[in-house]
């Protein structure tokens, strides 16, 4: 879930681009499939974390079937909060498991 938000952190993307970005970022470990992706997108749109973008890139580059999504302010806040939570967890894990901070 967070991977989708992160994929959109640097700008709006269409669904397939999100999948590509997530795969690239995780070194191919996380490969989202269409059904899963759009179920997540739908929930995030309903919850106000994502917005559908009205702006379209150059028509020459655009496939009109594609819809573009971007992070809303709320989505960005959630992504930041979740990242911080993970960072804190990681920090604790380092102390407990490896004895260093």
């Amino acid at each position: 879930m967070l991977q989708v938000l992160l994929a959109l952190a640097d700008g709006e993307k269409h669904g397939y681009a999100i999948i590509k970005e997530v795969a690239r970022r995780t070194g191919g470990k996380v490969v989202l499939r269409a059904g899963t992706l759009y179920a997540v997108i739908k929930r995030f749109v309903d919850d106000g974390l994502l917005e559908e973008s009205d702006e379209r890139p150059d028509p020459a580059l655009d496939d009109e079937r594609r819809r573009y999504y971007r992070l809303s302010d709320r989505g960005r806040k959630v992504a930041v909060a979740e990242s911080e939570r993970l960072a804190a967890t990681l920090k604790q894990a380092r102390v407990k498991l490896f004895g260093r901070s």
């Binding site: 269409h14 669904g15 397939y16 999948i19 490969v31 499939r33 269409a34 059904g35 899963t36 759009y38 179920a39 997108i41 739908k42 496939d63 079937r65 594609r66 819809r67």
Partner: protein, 879 residues
């Protein structure tokens, strides 16, 4: 489009339509991109496996998500109108509860499997002497059937047996038993749970003193002690050995229906050399198990062939006999079928009416929601999505109604089982089983779809296309217009039609019931206590001893305070007892004795005719002088006198009742009124009475009849009568003690049961129809307020307005009544077998029903009409 793309599109149909509409195109285009990148066959395979897994994981979650949103929305919407929700839920709960309760009876009685393996191969075999009434057969015929037939694996015969059990330190108890040929349980395919079954060697007059016990008797009498096997038991003052105990699960239908309440079995122990095996004696029942591959018709032809060969050998003992085979399911469960099917159909109609009523309520509700629907449509919500939402709402109602209905059904089933007539077999086995619960669930769901669909479709069609905008801009309540009323009028019409059908059905049953109540049984059952006694023991081995016992008992009972007459008889009318014998008239020999007319035979003692109040029409009754040594006499019934001696005086004629050397001709000394012996609804049979002290047959059981004075309850004498019997011989048990009114009322039990239930359903139906009509019309009046205001302003008076509303309401009522009459006439066959004295198309019942429905409907229209007429035009116009 490639094959792979097509598959993907098909796979996407698993996802909710809403989801597909939002993301389907993107998903397809994405899948195409992934296909392009997938290298070779392996790549494609991997892509497909991953995609399949993905959709199969996602689809249920998405459906659940929509459902949970719809549910919470539905609950919010319903909570906003709690009265409507409550009315709907309660109507449904009643409909589903009544349906489930009746179904539990139908299921337990008719649908549950019989307690025998391959029960559909089991048949009863009856002898038909061409008089249209197949009946019992004799041991001689059975023995011939058993040895000559080629169609059955096994045949078995059974006859009644009354067993008085005695044990040290325990009360004497009389139980109903059955005497069976040794193959009886083998034919049925059941084996004892304890001990052993009967063997061929047990079925002999000299060593037949063994018994099998029912599980109930074993638990009650022997505390479920497994050590009873092989122990002696005294029955009718003779020692028997307990051979085994039948399984608990065996609710023995065949014995139980042929010999009600039977709990103990013993071998028949007949041979063809014994007197009761005479060719013309017919008092045993036969069952058989068809051989594999043999049809009913073949077996029936085979058994008939045996009977006909007997008729050729012994032409004076058989008329023209044939065998009648009936599957045991039809024979024993068949009679209950019409009643249960009728009730089931009735509750089915009731549930349909509940649906129509709820649909009507929801239609009114729907018209209030047009705006909401229009807005949601304008926001791009698809019609199928809205339909799903509405159906979820009706499902919520249906599920809650169904749950309450099921609770009601559990209770109602108990009431039905406790109050159902004994004539319905297996009633005690009825329970709310898994199948019954499934039925409740399925009927709730179907109900929800039926009543939810109509309003939802109407709403969607109203706000489809361009109309949505109109609804939004004007926010008009257009459903009050012709289209909205049309939907409701159809529902009102359906309700009226269905309630008319139910009212006619219950009306016909009421008419039958009243007609039956008016049938004169030929005697007066009021104020009579019956006490059935059966003597056992060596001291009652001869006729004079038995006669002396009953004389003393009658004299003792007659001295009880309030008693006006005491009689005794071997054969009680209207109790289902059968004691019919062929009659030979002196000087008129029958060409074939087997074709002789038959009469009910009553051996009577003391003041029988006074106790029963059977009137003497000619001649005299019996006196104390008509004793054992006196010339044999007989008193006959009116119909027998008129038919056998038309235009002549039968007094002084002589007849013989059945054959036999000790059975002398008897002189007719009197003619009495006819008595309905076999049932109030059946024609009168011939009747012959003889003093029991002159009887050629030893019979140890008799029923005492104790008549009390006006205003006294005969049941109040029960304890005193019991004491009088004890004083004479404390060892002799009373088989049964009941008032004659109770006997007559038991006879009517099935009719009363059907009638009460059907009348209750019909009453509820009428109420539903009337409330539905009232609700729909009241709503219309509110909606037409403005129009009515205009009419009044233009000069219409109160009467005009009233007429306007009433005519609008009565139009669907008239169509509904007409439709109801047609359906009732067409469905008449369903009820025909339950009617007596009226036809299924009885004009009076139809007329009364029509009037009742029309009057109630007019009343239901009158109230809204009056309200409309009372409206102030100024207020109406402003609305």
């Amino acid at each position: 489009m490639s094959l792979s793309d097509r598959f993907f599109r098909a796979l996407m149909r698993l996802l909710p339509a809403e989801f597909r509409a939002d993301y389907g195109r993107e998903m397809e285009s994405q899948f195409r991109a992934e296909q392009r990148e997938a290298a070779g066959v392996t790549g494609m395979m991997r892509l497909w496996v991953a995609t399949l897994g993905d959709v199969i994981r996602t689809a249920p979650a998405e459906h659940l998500d929509i459902l949970s949103r719809d549910l919470s929305y539905a609950i919010r919407m319903l909570a906003r109108r709690p009265a409507l929700a409550l009315a709907t839920v309660m109507t449904l709960a009643l409909g589903i509860g009544a349906n489930t309760a009746i179904f539990s009876v139908v299921n337990g009685v008719l649908l549950s499997p019989l307690p025998y393996p391959d029960a559909d191969r089991l048949v009863t075999i009856q002898e038909d002497q061409s008089d249209g009434e197949p009946g019992t057969t004799g041991f001689f015929s059975f023995d011939a059937l058993r040895s000559q037939q080629q169609s059955f694996d096994r045949l078995a015969a059974l006859g009644g047996w009354s067993a008085v059990l005695r044990a040290d330190g325990q009360d004497t108890e009389r139980v109903n038993g059955v005497r069976v040929t040794w193959e009886y349980f083998r034919t049925l395919g059941v084996t004892p749970a304890l001990g052993r079954d009967f063997e061929a060697g047990d079925d002999h007059p000299d060593h037949r003193r063994i018994v099998l016990l029912s599980d109930g008797l074993w638990r009650r009498r022997f505390n479920a002690d497994p050590g009873v096997i092989g122990k002696p038991i005294s029955i009718n003052s003779v020692t028997y050995t307990i051979a085994g105990v039948m399984p608990r699960s065996l609710n023995e239908l065949v014995s139980g229906r042929l010999m009600p309440g039977s709990e103990i079995w013993t071998p028949l122990g007949y041979t063809t050399a014994l007197p009761p095996s005479c060719r013309s004696c017919r008092h045993i029942q036969v069952i058989g198990r068809l051989r594999d591959g043999v049809t009913m018709e073949q077996a029936q032809a085979d058994a008939t062939r045996v009977y006909q060969s007997l008729a050729r050998q012994f032409p004076t003992d058989y008329a023209s006999p044939a065998a009648v085979l009936t599957p045991i399911r039809d024979r024993f469960l068949g009679p209950a079928r019409p009643v249960l099917m009728l009730l089931w159909a009735a509750v089915g109609l009731l549930l349909l009416m509940a649906c129509a009523n709820i649909a009507n309520l929801l239609l009114i509700r729907a018209s209030e929601r047009e705006e909401e629907v229009a807005i949601r449509r304008a926001l791009g919500v698809s019609p199928s999505r809205l339909l799903r939402q509405f159906l979820t709402e009706s499902m919520v109602l249906a599920v809650i109604g169904g749950a309450i209905g099921t609770v009601l059904a559990v209770w109602a089933t108990r009431v039905l089982v406790a109050n159902g007539p004994d004539e319905i077999p297996r009633l005690q086995e009825v329970s709310v089983s898994g199948r019954v619960l499934l039925y409740a669930i399925v009927s709730s769901v179907i109900t929800g779809v039926i009543f939810g669909m109509a309003p939802a479709r109407m709403l969607l069609s109203r706000v489809s296309g361009g109309e949505a905008a109109a609804v939004l801009t004007h926010a008009t309540r257009t459903t009050a217009g012709p289209a909205g009323w049309k939907h409701r009028a159809v529902l009102v019409g359906i309700n009226v039609a269905l309630s008319t059908v139910l009212l006619i059905g219950s009306g016909l049953l009421i008419r039958s019931f009243v007609t039956l109540l008016e049938v004169d049984p030929g005697f007066d059952p009021h104020g009579v206590l019956t006490m059935e006694v059966e003597l056992s023991g060596q001291q009652y081995a001869e006729l004079p001893q038995i006669a002396s016992f009953y004389d003393r008992l009658a004299a003792s009972l007659a001295s009880l305070p309030g008693v006006t007459a005491v009689g005794a008889t071997t054969n009680l009318p209207l109790t289902g007892s059968i004691d019919q014998w062929g009659i030979t008239i002196e000087g008129r020999p029958n060409a074939n004795p087997a074709e002789a007319p038959e009469a009910d035979r009553y051996g009577v003692e003391a003041d029988y005719f006074a106790a029963m109040q059977v009137p003497l029409l000619r001649g005299r009754l019996f006196t104390a002088a008509d004793g054992p040594g006196a010339p044999p006499v007989v008193v006959i019934g009116k119909t027998m006198a008129e038919r056998l001696w038309p235009g002549e005086d039968p007094i002084g004629r002589r007849i013989t009742l059945a054959g036999g050397p000790n059975n002398p001709p008897r002189t007719i000394v009197g003619v009495v009124g006819d008595v309905r012996h076999n049932g109030l609804h059946l024609p009168v049979s011939y009747q012959a009475y003889m003093p029991q002290s002159q009887s050629p047959w030893l019979q140890s059981s008799m029923a005492m009849l104790i008549r009390v004075g006006d205003g006294q309850d005969p049941a109040s004498l029960a304890a005193a009568a019991r004491e009088r019997l004890r004083a004479i011989d404390p060892q002799q048990p009373i088989i049964r003690m009941r008032s004659y009114d109770t006997i007559v009322s038991t006879l009517m039990a099935t009719r009363r049961f059907t009638l009460v239930l059907l009348a209750a359903f019909a009453g509820t139906a009428l109420l539903l129809a009337i409330v539905g009509l009232y609700g729909a019309l009241s709503y219309v009046v509110t909606q037409r307020q403005r129009e009515i205001g205009v009419r009044v302003a233009l000069g219409a008076d109160h009467a005009d307005i009233r007429r306007l509303v009433i005519v609008q309401g009565l139009r669907p009522v008239a169509i509904g009544i007409a439709l109801g009459l047609v359906i009732a006439a067409a469905a008449g066959q369903l009820i025909a077998t339950l009617l007596y004295g009226v036809t299924a198309t009885d004009a009076m019942t139809y007329g009364v029903t029509l009037t009742a429905v029309a009057l109630s409907a007019t009343l239901a229209c009158w109230l809204p009409a009056r309200k409309a007429a009372m409206m102030e035009p100024a207020v109406s116009l402003r609305s």
